[in-house]
């Protein structure tokens, strides 16, 4: 009896030591150790230390916990071990993900310094402020256009590569490759294409280059037979700062549109810069869609396709009435992924227009409110908006997965 009680105390003591005191000690020692190192040693040595030790420090946590648990009475060891295995994961998710997101919701109801409650004032701001309305408009355009384009081009590439005798992997790799490039790098690549330089400088972006060299006497600053030919002729087309165009009004096409009815009025507001920036994302993610679709298409039983051919269905018919319905669930999964990715899109806008000229997106706006305007309440509100948009999409996925598992 007394013995049982004693072992209970011992278990309790050891579990506290192993699961609370030691992990906390580990956490603090890693944090403080590397913070001090950052200040004390030169950058090269810091990096040299950080890579091996930062990577292996985590093993100290587990082996330390394991050592302590070995002192526990045998019969309670299994339970302790389970907690030791799961504990760090739960703790870190809780501390670094769950707790902060709960706090973000809380902060979204407070003022810019997180001092006083302001009720839903931040949310009212989010839906009435002119800049926020533009941001939300852009986000909706991005969601519709990027997701649709990625899915369609991805389907085409996935379907067509599957029909090749050889070279399938080659074509898929080419389209998939941008996925490995950072959004910052991809934006740099496309900025080079959209580049605008005031006349009479040479246009080095290819779109403006083609524009200004259209016409009989217009050259993009080229040497021809020893003579230097430029485009600074009144009859030549002017280059356009593509990423500065929030509508069509600066383009020659606008003159034709102005006279028209509601359609041209809608067209003239076409946000060119937003569209051009979206292309970057389509370029990056189409390959992912194609690869996933191609895996889905391969899973279609050959008999079904053959039956379609024997019935004399055209290829487009086979595509729309056999392939697409068959991989519908894959399309939904990729669509979900794209919706979430677009909602979190940040880098492209941040390094191209910095959110100016009516190109802003929610994730950039969130960071702007945080680090530029120092308004924690509003920043949190934008974060919550992103979360609220992601939520139904993910819950839908989860429900479908569960249905699939049941079926």
């Amino acid at each position: 009896m007394n013995n049982g009680k004693q072992s209970k105390y011992l278990t309790f003591g050891i579990s506290t030591l192993a699961l609370v005191v030691f992990p906390l000690f580990w956490f603090l020692s890693q944090a403080i150790l590397f913070r001090e190192l950052t200040e004390q040693v030169t950058r090269n040595i810091l990096v040299l230390i950080a890579i091996p030790f930062g990577s292996t420090f985590i093993f100290l946590l587990f082996s330390g916990m394991n050592k302590i648990i070995n002192y526990a009475p045998k019969d309670s060891r299994d339970g302790l071990e389970a907690r030791m295995f799961v504990g760090p994961s739960i703790f870190m998710i809780g501390l670094f993900l769950f707790y902060p997101s709960m706090r973000t919701i809380y902060l979204s109801f407070k003022d810019r310094y997180s001092n006083d409650f302001v009720g839903i004032e931040n949310y009212i701001w989010a839906f009435t402020d002119a800049e926020m309305i533009t941001t939300i408009r852009n986000q909706i355009i991005w969601l519709i256009a990027v997701v649709t384009l990625t899915l369609i081009v991805g389907l085409i590439v996935g379907w067509l590569t599957d029909r090749l005798n050889k070279g399938e992997a080659f074509f898929k790799s080419i389209v998939f490759m941008p996925m490995a490039i950072s959004a910052v790098g991809a934006t740099a690549i496309f900025k080079f294409i959209y580049e605008y330089r005031p006349p009479p400088l040479t246009q080095i972006g290819i779109i403006n280059g083609i524009r200004v060299s259209a016409g009989d006497n217009c050259w993009n600053n080229r040497e021809i037979n020893g003579a230097f030919k430029g485009y600074d002729d009144a009859s030549c087309v002017e280059p356009v700062g593509w990423l500065q165009q929030r509508d069509l009004s600066a383009l020659p096409i606008a003159e034709n549109l102005e006279a028209g009815g509601w359609l041209s009025n809608a067209l003239i507001n076409l946000p060119i810069n937003t569209l051009l920036l979206m292309i970057i994302m389509v370029w990056m993610y189409t390959g992912f869609a194609a690869v996933v679709f191609s895996a889905g298409i391969k899973a279609i039983p050959a008999e079904i396709m053959e039956a379609g051919q024997i019935d004399g269905a055209s290829e487009i018919k086979i595509f729309t009435s056999i392939v697409v319905p068959y991989i519908k669930s894959t399309i939904v999964v990729v669509g979900t992924y794209m919706v979430v990715t677009v909602l979190k899109a940040f880098d492209i806008i941040y390094v191209s227009t910095r959110g100016d000229l009516e190109t802003n997106l929610l994730a950039v706006k969130m960071l702007d409110e945080f680090s530029k305007y120092r308004n924690f309440g509003r920043s949190s509100t934008v974060a919550v908006l992103i979360f609220v948009c992601v939520l139904p999409v993910i819950i839908g996925t989860a429900l479908r997965e569960r249905d699939n598992a049941d079926a």
Partner: protein, 300 residues
């Protein structure tokens, strides 16, 4: 899979469409990479397609820009910083997740289902949701009713902050994926090891971990590329104003945004350098990467 009727499909029009798509996809890269080898003055004087057309381009190609972006711009320092952020940020979550996944897959304990639901549920949280409080946590710690739970550590601007941040963001997916993978391992082998008296610790290290290499590689590739290409977390936790704290992406963003006006020779060569590592990882481990990506499709 070889289909008997494969020939029926393979028409010239298919190839034509695919070749044009592939060319469209490569085209942005082509002019960009070519320009990275041209001197800064030439890039601005003649457009790259004119230079190709006249043939002048071949004589002016050099590695000058690359040595400049390395030496004058210190891109190498940012590159090492990137590694110091990325490698631990990949290994830490995988280690923690592997332990947790083992417990979820092979151990029985109280509250297992609820805890697993917690892990899966956390996947839907977009990282924007936790940024601000996490910055505050690393700076001021946590206090509940005046009692400090986590002391003020002032971690922002150090590598540790990014490791912990990426660990938090990556853990739910890692735990979920690895548990899925481990559930697919033959249970009888693990059970017989336990009957033979092996502890959980030994079973984990000797048996389950080696058997899960493919699953771990899938997540590792995914996480490595994600962290290496990440700009948001680096921007928030390391900052973009201290040059010694820049990683490759934030350094590139500085160059691209135009700290130096029209420094296209630096922008191109810098971007090409920043692309090399992920491309190498990508082509080397494409199979794993795709698996990790598809698993990650449900992440918030």
């Amino acid at each position: 899979m070889i289909r008997s009727n494969q020939k029926w499909y393979d028409k010239p029009i298919t190839k034509l469409i695919l070749v044009s798509i592939a060319l469209t996809w490569m085209f942005p890269l082509f002019g960009f990479v070519l320009s990275s080898f041209r001197p800064g003055e030439s890039i601005k004087r003649t457009s790259w397609w004119d230079a190709v057309y006249t043939g002048n381009v071949w004589s002016e190609l050099s590695l000058q820009n690359y040595s400049e972006v390395f030496r004058a711009e210190n891109l190498d320092r940012s590159f090492y910083n990137s590694l110091a952020v990325t490698i631990p940020s990949t290994i830490i979550p995988i280690t923690i997740a592997a332990f947790a996944a083992y417990a979820f897959a092979f151990m029985e304990f109280k509250g297992k289902n609820i805890l697993f639901l917690f892990v899966v549920g956390s996947m839907i949280i977009p990282l924007q949701m936790s940024l601000i409080p996490l910055v505050q946590l690393f700076k001021d710690g946590i206090e509940i009713a005046g009692i400090p739970i986590i002391p003020a550590l002032d971690l922002n601007g150090t590598f540790v902050a990014t490791w912990f941040a990426h660990t938090g963001f990556g853990l739910p997916l890692a735990t979920f994926l690895l548990r899925d993978f481990m559930m697919g391992l033959p249970r009888s082998v693990i059970e017989s090891a336990k009957i033979d008296g092996a502890t959980n610790f030994t079973t984990f290290f000797r048996l389950v971990l080696p058997l899960s290499v493919a699953g771990i590689a899938a997540f590792a590739t995914f996480q490595f590329l994600w962290v290496y290409n990440d700009f948001l977390v680096a921007n928030v936790f390391l900052g973009i104003y201290k040059p010694e704290n820049l990683v490759v992406t934030s350094h590139m963003s500085q160059i691209v945004v135009g700290r130096f006006g029209e420094a296209w020779h630096l922008r191109t060569s810098g971007a090409v350098i920043s692309i090399l590592v992920p491309l190498g990882v990508f082509f080397g481990l494409q199979r794993f990467f795709i698996r990790g990506l598809i698993g990650g499709a449900v992440k918030g």
